[in-house]
């Protein structure tokens, strides 16, 4: 149950109690009024009864006075008294209409009074001045007294009845008044209790809120301290409409505004005019509000009007109820990086152009450098054929050397072009069975027709990942070299295998050929570097350079060990 609901419930209950007490006290007041009325009513009835008694006695007195004095005034009073008696009785009857017992009693009273009155009238008729002068008879007087006696007793019974009613009604009124007092006191106490509870709850909640506010203030302070000194990033906050409400050092550094001159300003001033015209600032806030975050890279404007390339992240800030409270904006000055990127792009373009040029150059070399060589060779041959009778033996040998030079140069060009091509072609990797590839290369060498018997042993199942055609060139060169450099051995042996060197799989091609001096091992892989005279072992000096380049392009290494006269081993890792 939320605090709000609790408060509503407590106050509601208190108000209900107060309402109930009010209703009860109203009703109690109404009842008290009634009780008072009844008490008054009873008093009136009592007075009437009293008056009736007095009137009867007075009738008797007037009648006696007239009988004894014969004065007319007594008669007049007597007659008036008769009327009063009747009206007294009527009044009583009306007054006690609510009380059937009193009505019964009145019914008994009526004949008694009538009897008394008629007795008095008889006596008057017998002894009145207009009648015979005689004393009232003793018997008659006795009867009269008895009747009066009865009347008095009936009236006193009625009086007693009314007295009882009076005390009863007074008691009831007092009791209800007492109850009412208790109800009012208890009700008010309860209401006060509930109100007090509600007040306490409010007080506690206020305490909690102020604590929460304090912790929020502290957290904001920590955030401010954390961001204030950040210089690489502009970190600032916007209100929901986009006005700056906080500003860190990075923002001052990057955008050029001091905190006091920018706080309260709209953030659109950081955008170039054309972006403002397009509504970009508001659009970015909309997106951030809708998606939670917006990221952008683009030009922004410093205070001095200069532009910088910014990476911007706008994050919408919402409270726990999801209401938008503002935005956090983090910007980074990417101008330098963008410049660097552009520089790289530019260099890439240049490199591409250079590569293209190199391509064209290689093509041209392949085409155009070979044509003159063909001419040199072809026409030397033509001279040898057409004028063979005119050329002395020495001249013939010279022309043969010219031809050999041309062919060798063609070979050099081809090797160089291959080397260049290897650097340019893309590596297409797949799983290659190198053992099988080595066997293919070996059969080619055997078919090359020098008729030599070379013992080649190839370890089976050597598999590697790499570019098939390039790895073939590697094996062609290494096995070809081994073949070539064992040409002077009586028993030529070549071995292609694999060995484990501290967890690394090292492939090798070993021969028992001419070998090389380890002092010159570093020259083995250089372009055009040769450790042997061409007359001993022909070659262009490009083969191992090509091999090394292929291995390097596969991310591997290659090295060699050798001893003059005992052979050489080329190791490589792919």
């Amino acid at each position: 149950m939320t605090l709000r609901m609790k408060l509503v419930a407590a106050c509601g209950i208190a108000l209900l109690i107060l309402g109930g007490v009010s209703v009860l006290s109203y009703r109690s007041t109404v009842r008290a009024d009634e009780d008072a009325r009844w008490v008054a009513h009873t008093r009136i009835v009592l007075e009437k009864l009293n008056a009736l008694t007095v009137d009867i006695i007075s009738q008797e007195t007037e009648q006696r006075g007239y009988v004894f004095t014969g004065e007319g005034s007594h008669l007049t009073s007597y007659n008036q008294g008769l009327n009063r008696l009747r009206s007294d009785l009527d009044d009583l009857r009306n007054l006690t209409a609510d009380n059937p017992r009193q009505q019964q009693t009145i019914k008994r009273l009526e004949p008694l009074i009538s009897k008394t009155v008629s007795g008095l009238r008889e006596e008057l008729a017998a002894h009145g001045p207009n009648a015979a002068q005689s004393a009232p008879t003793a018997g008659h007087a006795e009867a009269q007294d008895q009747a009066m006696q009865e009347i008095r007793s009936v009236i006193s019974a009625m009086t007693a009845e009314e007295d009882g009613l009076l005390s009863e009604r007074t008691d009831a009124a007092q009791a209800s008044s007492r109850r009412m007092k208790i109800v009012i006191i208890l009700g008010n106490m309860l209401a006060v209790l509930f109100f007090a509870t509600a007040a306490l709850a409010i007080y506690q909640e206020m305490g909690k809120r102020s604590m929460a506010e304090e912790s929020l203030r502290q957290s904001e302070e920590r955030f401010r301290l954390m961001t204030a000194r950040v210089k690489e990033y502009a970190i600032f906050m916007l209100d929901p409409d986009g006005h700056v409400i906080s500003w860190n050092e990075g923002a001052s550094r990057i955008k050029g505004y001091a905190a006091e001159e920018i706080i309260g300003q709209h953030f659109s001033r950081f955008y170039p005019a054309e972006d403002i015209a397009k509504g970009k600032p508001d659009y970015e806030l909309e997106i951030a509000a809708a998606r939670g975050q917006f990221e952008d890279e683009g030009w922004r404007v410093r205070k001095d009007g200069s532009r910088f390339w910014a990476n911007v992240v706008i994050t919408a800030l919402r409270d726990e109820r999801g209401r938008l409270r503002g935005f956090a904006k983090v910007s980074r000055d990417m101008t330098e990086r963008r410049r660097a990127d552009e520089e790289i792009e530019h260099q890439n373009a240049q490199l591409k152009a250079a590569n293209k040029e190199l391509d064209a150059f290689s093509y041209s070399v392949a085409h155009d450098l070979r044509a003159p060589l063909r001419a040199i060779d072809g026409f030397s041959q033509a001279v040898l054929e057409d004028y063979k009778d005119h050329i002395p033996e020495e001249g013939r040998l010279c022309l043969e050397r010219v031809r050999a030079g041309a062919v060798r140069m063609a070979q050099l060009i081809d090797d160089l072009l291959n080397l260049a091509r290897i650097s340019r072609t893309e590596i297409v990797r797949s799983n290659i069975d190198l053992s099988r590839l080595a066997e293919e290369v070996t059969s080619q060498l055997q078919a090359s027709g020098d008729g030599r018997q070379v013992h080649v042993s190839i370890s089976p199942g050597i598999v590697a990942t790499g570019d098939r055609s390039l790895l073939r060139i590697v094996l062609e060169n290494l096995l070809g070299n081994a073949w070539k450099f064992t040409s002077k051995q009586p028993v030529a042996e070549i071995r292609f295998g694999v060995q484990d060197e501290s967890g690394e799989r090292v492939l090798f091609v070993r021969d028992n050929g001419h070998g090389f001096d380890m002092r010159y091992a570093d020259k083995l892989f250089g372009v055009f570097q040769r450790l042997h005279r061409d007359s001993e072992f022909p070659g262009t000096g490009v083969g191992l350079a090509t091999v090394q380049r292929i291995i390097h392009r596969h991310g591997g290494r290659i090295w060699a060990e050798g001893t003059v006269g005992e052979g050489a081993t080329f190791y490589f890792v792919l």
Partner: protein, 149 residues
């Protein structure tokens, strides 16, 4: 018929032209050799236009020996036009070039070259290549085939 079988040699390099002719003669191939020094000349001859206007179009060379690197219109473009025209669509074209670039080979075959031969620098090899080409493309039309060697 045989005497009319001509060879169209499209070659801009005079040295290569002389060597090719020499190799043909050397191998006793005595068919008439038409020389075109660039792509335009080759196309003019084939389609009897330009300098060759009025030439009998029904006489087509037995084979075209086509260099790739040519002035004005290069060899690949010439090949493309030969293949695009109904009259020359089936004409045998042999690319005879210095280049052994993969790209050139792929492009040539892609455009419908019948053969691709790289000119060897060694004249002996060159001569042998020309001999084989001559035998294959020229004698294939002979009623009594000599066969390939």
């Amino acid at each position: 018929m045989t005497k009319e079988a001509v060879i169209l040699l499209v070659e801009d390099n005079v040295d290569d032209e002389m060597l090719t002719v020499r190799a043909l003669k050397h191998n006793r191939i005595h068919n008439e050799i038409i020389i075109a020094r660039d792509g335009v000349e080759a196309l003019d001859f084939l389609f009897a236009q330009g300098a060759f206007t009025g030439r009998d179009m029904s006489v087509l060379p037995q084979v075209v020996l086509l260099d790739l690197k040519l002035p004005k219109v290069d060899g690949l473009e010439v090949l493309k036009r030969i293949r695009a025209d109904e009259r020359t669509r089936l004409l045998p074209v042999v690319i005879l070039t210095s280049s052994n670039e993969e790209r050139d080979r792929v492009d040539s075959y892609g455009l419908g070259a019948n053969s691709y031969v790289r000119k060897p620098v060694d004249f002996g090899e060159f001569s042998e290549a020309v001999r084989q080409l001559g035998l294959y493309w020229l004698l294939l039309n002979q009623p009594a085939p000599v066969g390939r060697s």
